[in-house]
Amino acid sequence: MISANLSAVFYLISGVLFILALRGLSSPETSRQGNFFGILGMIIAITVTFFSIGNFSTGFVFVVIFLLAGGLVGAFIAYKIPMTAMPELVAGFHSLVGLAAVFVAISAFLNPDAFNLGTPGNIKLGSLIEMSIGAAVGAITFSGSIIAFLKLQGIMSGSPITFKGQHPLNVIILTSIFVLIYLLCKSQSSNIFWILLVVSFLIGFLLIIPIGGADMPVVISMLNSYSGWAAAGIGFTLENTALIITGALVGSSGAILSYIMCKGMNRSFFNVILGGFGGTDQLGAKKNTEQRPVKSGNADDAAFLMKNASSVIIVPGYGMAVAQAQHALREMVDTLKKNDIKVSYAIHPVAGRMPGHMNVLLAEANVPYDEVFELEEINNDFANADVAFVIGANDVTNPVAKTDPQSPIYGMPVLDVEKCKSVLFVKRSLSPGYAGIDNDLFYKENTLMLFADAKKMTEDITKNL
């Protein structure tokens, strides 16, 4: 048994180590060390908890058993998961943090003595508020992440699910959460506590179903943020510094990522949350107005264009992840490089289904990270490049965002792909992208459409090079 002061110092140390863990991610070189700091912080926090309780009886054995059981499952998942499934994995992990927060809150509510919070039915007011906020946010994180997971996994349709009166209903439910917390503080009734949890689960579910697949980067970041706030709420309840620091870090991290993602789509956060991108009226107006001619080609044509180029910029998108084309792409690039062609990659902030999704896939395929550039870094280079190879991206290359104020994506930062001498666009069909609008790029003079599966087309091009 160690004193409360000493354990508080250790919790502070582990909080600082978590800050260093995030700090390490400022560059790939320091990132591995950062991850090590994170692990160290976690080990310190857990060990200190054991010593401060000082109870190494049968209960302790069970704790270790449950810990190792969960740990084995986690380790197994971490080694088995393909990199393309990273968004689903992260959504799934968020749901677990949320549920764990709920469970801890329930336990604290049922047995407040163990946490020094008072007695059942007579819990300190401050603690009760903190724990109900932690529980409510945790429940929202849980059910929201489950929906995000199902949508990303394709079990649930990625298209927005909307119904009449959705927004008023959500507002009513959100308000009722505050009312319930108020009532809970007045009455300390466990019934109200359970109702609060059920209502929070419900609102998490309702908040995420109207949000479509391509908005998932925002949703995942937002849920990341929520999981942090839930942890912080529990941290206040337990008066634990490590949890408070971590909750604040994770909360602000998720919030910043959501902000970056929203900016990448030129949409306000509320606009994304309210769901349904590119209203149906827009879709109907633009559809079938004209059949414009496109130039389509095959792998041979594409190989010919690339062989004669001196610089090529690759623009990957979600389609590359779906087709698992990253390795085939890397092989193609290797062949290009052997022919002394300069190759770089251009990543739009919202390419893929989560922040940094494309970067991870390219890293998996052994693409050196110093060949991969962000939008601002590379956008001026398109004018000097010979070939842009768009693989699985669509809306993020649409010049309409710069030219047509009527378009729903007007103002969104896009990659200036059309400035290249020629554009190769790998796509399965001419269908519009997620935003439901036609891509002007398809019909440009210098665009060659390659209608095929991204992976197969890339392999065929490599053969023809």
Partner: protein, 102 residues
């Protein structure tokens, strides 16, 4: 008059939000996915609360209605801790510089 300890915790919380704000802005965008998985792992430090909850029972009844939730939370958080850190490790190991090419 003495200051309520809550105020100290609130101060830590607010300052940590600012630390988080500046630290996260300095994260390179190409590492945003590892950032999410590592924040996932560290937010599972909630396991601390789960351990306290699960050891709240006395020796005659290790599993009571409150500690059961603690044990469940331990497993969930442990999945996240191991899964989160290991998958981050796996991802970070893939980021290589050009010079390292064979």
């Amino acid at each position: 008059m003495e200051i309520d300890p809550f105020i100290f915790r609130l101060s830590i919380f607010i300052l940590s939000i600012f630390v988080g704000y500046y630290v996260v802005w300095s994260v390179t965008p190409s590492l945003h996915t590892p950032l999410m998985s590592v924040t996932n792992a560290i937010s599972s430090v909630i396991i601390v609360g789960a351990i306290i909850a699960s050891l709240s029972g006395n020796s005659s009844s290790i599993f009571n209605e409150s500690s059961i939730f603690g044990f469940l939370a331990i497993s969930l958080a442990a999945i996240n801790i191991f899964g989160g850190f290991l998958v981050t490790q796996r991802m970070l190991a893939m980021y290589k510089k050009k010079k390292g090419k064979k």
